[in-house]
């Protein structure tokens, strides 16, 4: 792949890459950094890359790998419970937030595997086969993760509604 081809291709996926990185890392700065780092790594290997349909999947997969590595490293330095746990959200975070914003917070509280599959399936519109290729899991595992995430969101939503 030539330099200009690479730039054209990668610019098409900027939004998707950033959103996927953000869904894993939750921090905007970390997401930006992850995307730039992955672009750099891919740029180094651009001559080996083919501009076929797998390029998008390859980009997303690279983001996933890098972001998960970053999470692991962060967890080694600090108690990074929020990335894996489904712990409760502090009450002050809910103040003055509408239902949509609360749903977004619930979404952030999901375990990383469920968050990734929901982001790819529901928010970015990928099919289960594509999700499985990006995350390197089976189609069935992708479906199970989506299902578990949706169920958890549904439970949280019901709790919110019943609590008024």
């Amino acid at each position: 792949m030539t330099d200009s081809d690479f730039e054209k291709q990668i610019l098409q996926y900027k939004k998707k890459l950033y959103r996927f990185a953000l869904s894993i890392l939750k921090q905007k700065e970390d997401a930006q950094d992850a995307v730039q780092e992955v672009v750099l790594r891919m740029w180094k290997k651009r001559e080996l890359l083919n501009s076929d349909e797998n390029f998008e999947s390859y980009c997303m997969n690279s983001i996933k790998n890098y972001a998960l590595d970053l999470l692991r490293k962060k967890r080694n330095f600090q108690n990074y419970k929020e990335f894996t746990s489904t712990g409760n959200i502090a009450p002050e975070e809910f103040e003055n937030k509408d239902l949509i914003e609360r749903m977004q917070l619930f979404l952030k509280q999901l375990p990383v595997q469920q968050r990734m599959t929901i982001e790819l399936k529901d928010f970015q519109g990928y099919e289960y086969e594509e999700v499985s290729a990006i995350l390197e899991i089976s189609v069935n595992a992708a479906r199970v993760n989506v299902s578990r995430g949706r169920k958890r969101l549904y439970e949280k939503f019901k709790e919110e509604i019943s609590n008024g």
Partner: protein, 164 residues
């Protein structure tokens, strides 16, 4: 009338996507509200602008770094070559000058040595000729003395004893 969808079975199990669920087609108002909120979250997420960051920031930095490193490498290589050439030039220059200075002294020394050798040779030659002459005289056969003229060769031919 369309059959009411059981949200727990269809959506939460991951069999349907949120776009495939039509409004008013769900079992109860709670499910309706959940799907509606979920849809709004997706819509809000996709409409949200991503930060305007340079995707190739790290790539550009890396390229700059590589260029700088390449320049440094080339410069140090060139500097080494120049230093080596300079060193050898100086070496040859000084060795030539030294040679030029030492040449007249050397010539004089050689001349002196040659003269001494010639003198020694001449001395040795004289000695050898003398020895040869004596040896020739001493060992010549008696018959050769037949024609020996005492008158001619006698050194005391004209020696007068009375005049002593």
């Amino acid at each position: 009338m369309a059959k009411k969808i059981k949200i727990a079975e269809e959506f939460l199990e991951g069999k349907l996507s949120v776009d495939e669920i039509e409004a008013g087609n769900l079992e109860n108002s709670m499910d309706e509200e959940f799907i509606d909120t979920y849809r709004k979250v997706i819509s809000k997420n996709s409409e949200e602008e991503i930060p305007n960051f340079n995707l190739f920031e790290k790539t550009a930095f890396q390229q700059k770094k590589e260029r700088s490193n390449s320049f440094k490498r080339t410069f140090s290589y060139a500097a080494t070559v120049v230093a080596l050439i300079g060193f050898f030039s100086l070496f040859f220059y000084f060795s030539t000058i030294r040679k030029q200075h030492t040449q007249p002294v050397k010539i004089a020394e050689t001349q002196k040595e040659v003269i001494q050798v010639l003198l020694l040779f001449s001395e040795e030659l004289n000695k050898t000729l003398k020895n040869f002459d004596e040896a020739t005289t001493a060992f010549q056969p008696f018959a050769d003395y037949k024609n020996y003229s005492i008158e001619f060769n006698n050194p005391i031919k004209n020696f007068k004893i009375n005049e002593l």
